[in-house]
């Protein structure tokens, strides 16, 4: 039976999958990074639903998301005209490189790597969003910042998220971040 943690990951998985499917052709780097988050969150749904085999893959894809998908997302947003952002093969190669480096560093014992990269990536996204002067982009980036803060603190500030656990709060904030990001891109292209 699905519980609150699983539900939060399900929401994140759905938002990321939608984003990945929507921008698969037009913004491959964005789509691929969202796709990695969607895979990680999907395994999270299974893991939090007490399906044992999903634990390892969830942790693995969370590591991939932290060390590769976050930087790729930052590249997609900061340099949308770069080959990496525009070409699906270039994006996939960057993802591959980041995965290789990220996993090698993580396995060699430098666990901070998976925290440093998302922080740097999100800061880059904040800068890109502030330059765009779009409310949805800025809110999206701030949701990511909040999500990382909750993950780092290990708890959600009660006045903000009330009954949610840190895990749930992080998933919802990330989901909100992706949703706002998608909204900002949609409104940009529709105008």
């Amino acid at each position: 039976m699905i519980n609150a943690d699983a539900l939060s990951d399900l929401i994140l998985a759905l938002v990321c999958s939608t984003l990945a499917a929507t921008y698969w052709r037009t913004r491959p780097a964005l789509a691929q990074s969202s796709g990695v988050f969607a895979i990680a969150a999907s395994f999270g749904v299974l893991r939090f639903s007490a399906i044992d085999f999903a634990l390892g893959p969830h942790r693995f894809f969370s590591l991939v998301a932290a060390s590769a998908a976050f930087p790729l997302l930052a590249i997609a947003l900061c340099w949308p005209d770069d080959e990496t952002a525009k070409r699906d093969k270039a994006a996939a190669r960057m993802l591959f490189l980041l995965v290789a480096i990220g996993i090698a560093i993580h396995l060699s014992g430098f666990a901070l790597w998976r925290q440093i990269l998302p922080v740097v990536s999100v800061l880059m996204m904040v800068i890109a969003a502030s330059r765009s002067k779009q409310a949805a982009s800025i809110f999206g980036a701030l949701f990511f910042v909040a999500g990382l803060l909750v993950a780092a603190l290990g708890q959600a500030p009660e006045f903000v998220l009330g009954p949610f656990s840190a895990t749930q709060a992080m998933h919802y904030l990330m989901g909100a971040g992706f949703a706002m990001l998608g909204w900002s891109l949609y409104s940009r292209t529709s105008h």
């Binding site: 085999f53 390892g56 080959e83 591959f96």
Partner: protein, 399 residues
């Protein structure tokens, strides 16, 4: 080695120019370096697959089940297809894999012309197997099977094999993979099954009546195995230095060979191709072959060594073996400086083998010490009498 000699003998009987001794020795030297640098990799302790399996596996698949074994072999071959394909389509991976394609001949020695730098990124492609739960022992078993299978397909002596050519990787369809003809480029990446190429649109059948020219479009033109391993990295480095901005610099390494372009590949004229040949004297070819036979037991010894017990010694031994292959390679090219280096090497090895209490852990009997000292001395004297000249011909092609 025995299979290489048998193939060379058969080719000679049939009057086929399948082998060129300097080229074949260079292939074997590449194989030697690839093996001994693997020792350094072991020292670095990066058993990445096992670590990922330990930390992230979904389940523990039984290593003794035949069904799991077959599925693991299939999964490995699938991952290998993508590793191999990316090895051709991404600069930083091509820089490692180009070694295997740098020979302008196609024979069993070419199969041994392996990269020494492929270990940097190759492991990433197999991580899905670790996450699914294929145990490391089973993974290494299927990896060895996949690797060994690919040995026999590197030959021109076996023709087409009917339906097998459509299902499995065979000499016929792997010849296409090693060709530089227009229709051969970026085709037939499979390890055991050619079905992956059919599935992903990279299959090409060998054409009757069109001679395949082996090698790479920018010919290596060197018998130095270290340069063979590093030349494309050097090209990429130069290119990235010239690129403006860090993203462009990084992009050089991630782009396909030739860069991001939708333009068709330049036409390759097979009629004008000339194989690289340094006109190495027959005596020098024999000399190089004899030196190689002495390197082989050293490689066996280093592979059997407990490198973690004496890491510095292991590194020193690896460097010595690499230096040997470089010296001999440069001699095959007819470079005069190689003569001096080789003489110095012979002198040092002769003295060291006789005077050291043991040879990297091997307590050699006196008779062997004397024999090797005599051999070094004889080689040195012979080499000193040689007149080394460099007269290479064959610039690959008009490209």
């Amino acid at each position: 080695m025995l299979t290489v000699l048998i193939e060379a003998g058969l080719a000679r009987r049939r009057g086929l120019a399948v082998y060129d001794i300097p080229d074949a020795l260079t292939s074997l030297h590449h194989g030697v370096i690839s093996e001994v640098t693997g020792v350094l990799w072991k020292l670095a302790g990066l058993g990445t697959y096992a670590l990922v399996y330990t930390n992230f596996h979904a389940t523990e698949l039984p290593a003794d089940s035949w069904l799991i074994f077959v599925l693991a072999l299939l999964a490995y071959d699938f991952c290998y297809y993508w590793q191999h394909r990316m090895g051709h389509e991404m600069n930083v991976l091509w820089a490692a894999h180009v070694v295997h394609h740098s020979s302008e001949y196609y024979n069993l020695a070419t199969a041994l012309r392996q990269t020494s730098t492929g270990r940097f990124f190759g492991w990433v492609f197999y991580l899905p197997m670790a996450v699914i739960g294929v145990p490391p022992t089973l993974f290494f078993t299927v990896a060895v099977i996949d690797l060994l299978y690919q040995y026999w397909v590197h030959t021109e002596l076996i023709g087409r094999l009917g339906w097998l050519d459509r299902v499995f990787v065979t000499p016929s369809n792997h010849r296409v993979h090693h060709g530089q003809n227009d229709y051969c480029i970026d085709k037939n990446y499979g390890g055991i099954l050619i079905l992956w190429d059919r599935l992903f649109g990279t299959f090409a059948d060998e054409r009757e009546g069109e001679k395949i020219i082996y090698g790479i479009r920018k010919p290596l033109q060197s018998f130095n195995p270290v340069w063979g391993n590093l030349h494309y990295y050097n090209d990429l480095w130069r290119e990235s230095v010239q690129a403006v901005g860090w993203r462009a610099k990084l992009g050089v390494w991630l782009a396909p060979p030739g860069g991001w372009t939708d333009a068709p590949l330049a036409h390759f004229d097979t009629a004008t191709f000339v194989n690289y040949d340094c006109k190495t004297s027959s005596a020098m070819r024999w000399y190089a072959a004899i030196q190689y036979t002495l390197v082989v037991p050293c490689v066996v010894q280093i592979l059997a060594m407990d490198v973690k017990a004496a890491p510095l010694l292991a590194v020193l031994y690896v460097l010595l073996i690499i230096a040997t292959t470089v010296c001999v390679g440069l001699l095959l090219e007819g470079r005069q400086i190689a003569q001096r280096f080789e003489m110095l090497r012979l002198l040092l090895i002769g003295i060291a083998f006789v005077t050291m209490p043991d040879w990297f852990g091997f307590d050699a009997p006196v008779i062997l010490r004397v024999a090797l000292a005599m051999f070094s001395l004889a080689s040195l004297v012979w080499l000193a009498q040689q007149r080394i000249e460099r007269s290479p011909v064959g610039a690959g092609n008009t490209l």
